[in-house]
């Protein structure tokens, strides 16, 4: 129970209300949260029973189909960590996540700030709509477009050749070193408009009086952005950042799966693809679950860590 500085004597009464008494007194609220509680229980906690598969041997499809899946201790985890390409997958996942996080956040904040400064309403709405429409496109379509745009004889290479920047067409899709950045750029294109929505709504919540006060103090447009707008969305920014850090182990699956090929496999194979190739595809649910557990554990550590640091810095926290 929080301590209220203006609290009265009865607030400090030695008879603290028990959990159930409090629950009864707030029964309406409790009732409202029952569906959410059940939802989480059913879809988030109950499936955790499936974690038991991580300790079973699903290695032989024929035996699995007959229902023979003996326990094998930590063998699945040992197998995972004996694979050099699992570590490559972790590296790729983190690299692409971080690129996505940085590109995604920076571009969304930047676009939100720019849109916030636009006074012409029609223009603002149009830009907003145009930038967030790609969010609704299927990744299959986005990747097909990217494959054409970045092809050796595609428009990007035509442009670079035409401007004399390169002499030979750049092999965007076939060289590993380009892959992470391509994923980052495609993700920005697809998600930037969507990402701005939340920042723009945070900006509308900023008290206009602050801008007026800043103007009276002689602040120009850039100074207003710097000293009013950005601090105004800081708490939103931090909360989103913490949540995104919790998702760092999820660099995505579709885009890498669709855009990847043998040549760039060492840069495109994320943990999810690794799981598909070595686990799910062969019905080896043991290995797939083991990798899933590993991902979850790392994600929890990252989330709690980011939350802790944020608390230390005196910023917003999730819990």
């Amino acid at each position: 129970m929080t301590y209220d500085s203006r609290g009265t004597a009865r607030y400090h009464s030695p008879k603290k209300k028990s959990f159930f008494q409090r629950l009864c007194s707030q029964w309406q609220l409790a009732l409202m949260s029952v569906p959410i509680f059940l939802y989480v229980l059913l879809f988030n906690y109950a499936p955790m029973w499936g974690w038991i598969n991580a300790f079973k041997d699903y290695g032989n499809r024929k035996l699995v189909a007959r229902g023979i899946t003996p326990f094998n201790g930590l063998d699945n985890f040992k197998w995972l960590f004996s694979r050099p390409d699992f570590f490559v997958a972790i590296r790729n996942t983190l690299a692409m996540s971080i690129i996505n996080l940085v590109f995604g956040t920076v571009s969304a904040v930047l676009l939100a700030v720019l849109l916030n400064e636009v006074r012409q309403k029609m223009f603002k709405k149009t830009v907003q709509t145009v930038t967030y429409l790609p969010h609704f496109l299927s990744m299959v379509i986005v990747v097909a477009m990217a494959q054409n745009i970045f092809a050796s004889n595609g428009p990007i290479n035509d442009l670079l050749l035409g401007l004399g920047i390169v002499k030979q067409p750049v092999f965007w899709l076939g060289e590993g070193k380009h892959f992470w950045w391509l994923v980052g750029i495609i993700n920005v294109w697809k998600e930037v408009g969507w990402g701005t929505i939340i920042y723009i709504s945070a900006m509308t919540a900023i008290d206009p009086a602050l801008y007026e006060a800043a103007a009276i103090d002689g602040a120009g447009r850039f100074q207003k952005i710097l000293h009013v707008t950005l601090p105004g969305i800081k708490s939103t920014f931090v909360i989103l950042l913490i949540m995104n850090i919790g998702h760092l182990m999820e660099a995505g699956f579709e885009i890498q799966y669709l855009l990847g090929n043998g040549l760039v496999a060492n840069y495109s194979r994320t943990i999810d693809i690794f799981v598909l190739e070595y686990g799910t595809q062969n019905m080896d649910f043991g290995v797939a679950t083991a990798a899933g557990i590993f991902k979850s554990v790392v994600a929890i550590i990252l989330l709690v860590g980011a939350n802790f640091i944020s608390k230390r810095l005196g910023e917003e926290t999730l819990v």
């Binding site: 290695g59 024929k62 229902g67 092809a151 899709l173 090929n261 043998g262 040549l263 062969n282 019905m283």
Partner: protein
Amino acid sequence: MRKLLAVLLTLALLGTLMVSFAAAEELEPITLTVFRGDPGDQPYEDNKIYKKIEEEFGVKFEFEFLAGDLDETLGLKLQDLDDLPDLFDGGNSAETLIDAGALVNLLDYVNPEDTPNLWAHIEPQKNRIITKDEVTGEDVMYIIPNYGLGEGEQIVNSVGGPAFFIQKQVLAWAGYPEIHTLDEYFDLIEKFIAENPTNADGTPYIGFDILCEGWRHFCLINPVQHLMGRPNDGEVLVDVTKDDFPTETFINQPYAKAYYKKLNEEFKKGIISQDTFVMSYDQYIAQLSSGIVLGMFDQAWDFGDATNALLTDKKYENTYVALGLVYDEDDVAAEDMPEGWTIEEHYVNGSLPNLDRGFGISVSCKCPERIVAMWERMLDYDWQMLFNWGVEGEDYSVEDGRLTMTAEQYANTQDIEWQRHNKARAFFESSPKRQGYIMEGEFAGQCWEPGNQDEIVFGLMNDYDKDFLSHYGYSKFGDFVNPPIELAPYGEAWQIDKADIQKDYDDYLRIQDEQLPGIIMASDDEFDAKWDTFVNDITPSADIYANFMHEQILKLVAAYYGEE
């Protein structure tokens, strides 16, 4: 006397009653639930063939087609073995159904006495079709192959499987030469491109495409066995001339290097574009359909959509001919060859029963006897004619004792909407069927399948193709390759289930996917080093795979010859 007559009459009456009862029981109408492991189209209520089936057998079908992922769907269905579709086609994952015990052993119902038709149908291949259960050791047959049990001589009108393909216009441009080796093939493409860099629209030609996407990577990794003269065994080279069937992976052998060296040279000449290694299947089909790809290694069924698109656009000169290329003597040094190996072109294999593909009867089916009896009757001449050719006068006609169709009638059979009214496709495709030549009755010597009948193959062939073939003096496109070789006793090795060594097999494929494109694109000074790295990296998993395949092949051979 009168008494006797009365008794006899009563008996006769009783007998009739019993017979009619029995008959009534037999014909009690039922609806069978049917699952097909591939996408398809529901037939209409007024479908004429299904109506006939209902009249004679009292059987109606309720079809469910695959929508979504096959393995996922099968997994869901297998959750409850008491509620399976009666007729269950597991598509390309039928092994899952068998492994899960979802299908009844058809040998409980199929035998020479009760089902002479079905028995005669499988008899020639029974050593492949009937296998031993791994656990109980009893003879089992869960699925009667839906295709590949042809009668009479094998029909090869065209190459349906793997080959090096080349656009007809390239051969026509060069004056219809015979092409048999890699060098001749690529020389021709180079010369053609040198003189015709672009098509009529100004789009540059692509000399040679190599599709590498996903499971279709056979275009990249399979050609070497064919260059060595063998039909499709997947990823191993088997010496069928020796009693112990020596088996090796070919991709890490010196003779494979010659092919990838050739591709490397062509890459540097610009015949192969770097984009081929990153293109998706859809892009590949789009490229082929636009008629700018001059050649590729592929299997004919894999680019059927492109062929159809070209035919629809009447770009006949851009459609492909299958060539059976083999290594020339000086392509591979003698010491690099497997011991005692001679190269002779065999792209087309003896016909192979489509093992474990087609309908099985599920364990939850209430009337397996009735289904088997129905199949038994359906193998009769009249039903097979109905399924294959349709109704005489409506769907086909007989001229001078030959079965034939008009162009319109044949086009109908390819039209999905028409099929939904007039063909029992969803049922027949997965059922046992007679193929090849009709061996009995007035049409003996003609073809079960309209698509194979001379009147249709040649009668309805477009003029470009007729003219093209006449320059070679051939009557069909299958004449470009050698006649089928006798099927090896183990069948085709790619059919072997690799579940027991799955992870090593995955590694083996993955290393090829990741490194072969790089080798083809390597510069001169890198090529050998990259090749050596590749051989080094792949040999451990390749050895495991080759040994496993050899064991399995020996098992299949023993089973084929009926040894224990």
